[in-house]
C-alpha cells in the first residue's frame, strides 16, 4: 500500500504566492522598462540594450571589475588556503582566533572600512600612487577582506569534511614536499569549497559599489550608477545584465556544490 502524499496546506500556498509576486514583479517591471522605446516611451524596442552594448564604458568597466574579481580570488585563495590548512593541521588552538577575525568584517562593514583605509593610507601615511591610485592594489586589498568571511566559512567547512591529518601524513611519508602536498593532495580535495568561495567572491566584487565609489575608482557598479542617473531605459537594460552576472555566479556555486555533493555556505553580502 502506498501512502498518499499529503496535500499542500492552503496557508502555505498563500505565503508562497505572495512571496513569488513580491520577488518577481520588480524583475518583470525592469524587463518591461528596458524594452520601452527611448523616444515614445512605449513598448517594445531593443534600443536600450543597443545603447548599453555599444557603450565602450560598459565593456571597459566590466573588464576592470572582472579583472579585480580574478585578482581578489587569487590573492584570497593564496592567503587563506594555506592558513586554514595549517590551522586544521597543526594549530587548532588558533581556529577560534581566525574564526573571530572572519566575523570582524560584519562589524566593520565596507562603509567603515573605506573610512579607515582612506584615513590611514591617504591622509596619514600618504601612500604612493602605485598603491592608492591603482584599483589593483587599493581595491583588491580591501576586497580580499570583504571576501574573507565567505571564503573562510566555505573553506572551513571543506577542510572539516576531509581527513587533513591522514592525507598529509600519507603524502609526506611518500616523500612529497609540503608544496606538492598542498597543491596536489589537499587542494583537489577541497576543490568544491574553494570554487564556491571563488564564485561568491566574483559576485561580491562585480557588485561592490561603496568602496569603489568613495575612493573614486571606475568599476562596473559605479558605471551602473552613472547610467542610472543619466539614461532611464538603458539603465534598466544594464540592471538586467548585472542581475545576469549575479545569477550566473550564484548558480555556478549550486552546480559545483551539487556535483561535489557538499553543502555550500551562502550568506548575504554587505551592500
Amino acid at each position: 500500500m502506498r501512502l498518499r502524499r499529503p496535500a499542500i496546506a492552503p496557508s502555505a500556498v498563500l505565503w508562497l504566492v505572495l512571496g513569488a509576486v513580491y520577488f518577481l514583479v520588480p524583475l518583470l517591471a525592469t524587463l518591461l522598462f528596458s524594452l520601452r522605446d527611448a523616444q515614445t516611451g512605449k513598448c517594445c524596442s531593443l534600443s536600450a540594450y543597443g545603447v548599453i552594448l555599444h557603450d565602450p564604458q560598459f565593456w571597459s568597466t566590466i573588464k576592470v571589475s572582472f579583472r579585480l574579481a580574478l585578482e581578489t580570488i587569487l590573492v584570497g585563495l593564496l592567503l587563506f588556503v594555506p592558513t586554514i590548512y595549517w590551522v586544521h593541521l597543526r594549530l587548532p588552538r588558533l581556529r577560534p582566533v581566525v574564526g573571530f577575525l572572519a566575523l570582524v568584517p560584519f562589524v566593520v562593514p565596507p562603509i567603515i572600512l573605506v573610512v579607515g583605509l582612506l584615513k590611514l593610507y591617504k591622509d596619514t601615511l600618504h601612500a604612493p600612487f602605485w598603491f592608492l591610485g591603482k584599483p589593483d592594489f587599493f581595491l583588491v586589498g580591501a576586497y580580499v577582506i570583504l571576501a574573507f568571511p565567505y571564503i573562510y566559512f566555505s573553506l572551513d567547512a571543506g577542510f572539516r569534511s576531509i581527513d587533513v591529518h591522514t592525507l598529509t601524513e600519507a603524502s609526506r611519508n611518500l616523500g612529497a614536499s609540503w608544496r606538492t602536498t598542498l597543491g596536489r593532495v589537499i587542494l583537489p580535495n577541497i576543490r568544491v569549497a574553494a570554487l564556491s568561495g571563488a564564485f561568491l567572491t566574483l559576485a561580491i566584487v562585480m557588485g561592490e559599489f561603496t568602496i569603489a565609489s568613495l575612493s573614486a575608482f571606475q568599476t562596473f557598479p559605479t558605471y551602473l550608477q552613472y547610467v542610472n542617473e543619466s539614461q532611464a531605459y538603458p539603465a534598466a537594460a544594464a540592471t538586467l545584465l548585472s542581475f545576469g552576472i549575479t545569477w550566473a555566479a550564484m548558480l555556478s556555486i549550486l552546480l559545483v556544490g551539487r556535483r561535489g555533493g557538499q553543502r555550500t555556505v551562502r550568506v548575504g553580502v554587505g551592500r
Binding site: P6, L14, W15, A29, T83, G116, T210, G270
Partner: protein, 274 residues
C-alpha cells in the same frame, strides 16, 4: 600564518583602529570626546542614527516575519520538493542582489514613471506619488531593503526549521497536544534562538547598507548614517574632519553590540541543528 595575520592587520585591523582612534582626536592632535558628544548634540546627526535604526529595525522585523512564514511554507509537509528548492535557489541569489541594480529595479517598478506606478494610475486612476509614497522616502527604502532581507531570512532560518523533527510533532499529537500547544511549548522554544539570531543579523545587514540607499535617495536627503559618512568622505560637508570617523565609530558600536547578542544566540541555536 604570518602573511595572513600581516594582511589582516594591514587591511582590516589597523584601518579599523584608525577610525576608532580618529573618533577621539581633536583637530590639533590631542584627544577629546567632543566628536562623540557633538553627534548626540547635533540635531541632524542624532536624527540620522534614529532614522537608520528605525529602518533597520522595521526591515529586520518584517523581513524576519515574512522570511519565516515563507520558509516554513516552503519546507512544511505537503509542499512539493521542487517548490522548496526553487525558493532556496532564488533566496541564495536574491540575498546577494542589492546595491545599485536592486535600487534601479525598484525605480523601474515604483519610481515616478515606473511600470507599477503607471499601471496603478491607469487601472485605478490613483497616482501613488500624490498620496505620500515615494521610492526615496523611508517607506520606499524599507520596501526595497525587504528584497534582500526576506531571502536572507529564508536562507538563515531554513536549517533551523529543518531541525524541527517530525517525531516531535507526532509525539506531541499522540500525547493529545493541539497544534497551538505544539508550537507554544515545542516548536517556538526550539526555533526562538535561531529566529532572534537571524533578526539581529538582518538588522546589521540593513544598518550597514550604503549602495542601495545611496542610489535610491541620491540628492533627496533621507539622512542615514552610511550616507552621511559617504558625503563626508567625498565632499567634506562637515567643518570637523573627525566627524566622519566619529559617525563610523558610532556605527561600529551599534554593530558590535549586535554581535555580542548574536554569538551566544548562535551557539544556543546550534544545539538542535542536525
Amino acid at each position: 600564518m604570518v602573511p595572513f595575520f600581516a594582511y589582516a592587520a594591514m587591511f582590516l585591523i589597523i584601518p579599523a583602529a584608525t577610525v576608532m582612534v580618529g573618533a577621539f582626536r581633536s583637530q590639533d592632535g590631542g584627544y577629546t570626546l567632543d566628536n562623540i558628544t557633538s553627534i548626540v548634540q547635533t540635531g541632524n546627526l542624532r536624527e540620522a542614527y534614529w532614522e537608520s535604526i528605525r529602518i533597520s529595525l522595521t526591515t529586520a522585523l518584517l523581513g524576519g516575519l515574512f522570511g519565516l512564514l515563507i520558509a516554513y511554507a516552503a519546507i512544511r509537509k505537503g509542499t512539493p520538493g521542487w517548490v522548496r528548492s526553487a525558493y532556496g535557489t532564488f533566496s541564495g541569489v536574491a540575498a546577494n542582489f542589492g546595491g545599485i541594480p536592486l535600487a534601479f529595479a525598484f525605480i523601474a517598478t515604483l519610481g515616478t514613471i515606473g511600470i507599477v506606478t503607471q499601471f496603478i494610475e491607469n487601472a485605478f486612476g490613483v497616482n501613488i506619488y500624490q498620496h505620500g509614497f515615494a521610492i526615496w522616502s523611508r517607506r520606499g527604502v524599507e520596501l526595497v531593503y525587504l528584497y534582500f532581507q526576506i531571502p536572507l531570512m529564508i536562507l538563515v532560518i531554513a536549517p533551523a526549521i529543518d531541525g524541527l523533527r517530525a517525531e516531535w510533532s507526532e509525539a506531541s499529537a499522540n500525547l493529545g497536544a493541539s497544534r497551538w500547544q505544539y508550537w507554544r511549548y515545542i516548536g517556538m522554544p526550539v526555533l526562538m534562538p535561531s529566529i532572534l539570531g537571524a533578526v539581529i543579523l538582518l538588522f546589521g545587514n540593513s544598518f550597514a547598507a550604503y549602495a542601495t540607499a545611496y542610489s535610491l535617495t541620491s540628492g533627496t536627503g533621507l539622512p542615514l548614517v552610511p550616507i552621511l559618512i559617504g558625503s563626508d568622505l567625498t565632499g567634506n560637508v562637515f567643518a570637523n574632519p573627525h566627524e566622519g570617523q566619529a559617525l563610523a565609530f558610532g556605527m561600529f558600536v551599534v554593530l558590535a553590540a549586535m554581535m555580542l547578542f548574536y554569538i551566544p544566540l548562535q551557539r544556543r541555536a546550534s544545539r538542535w541543528a542536525k
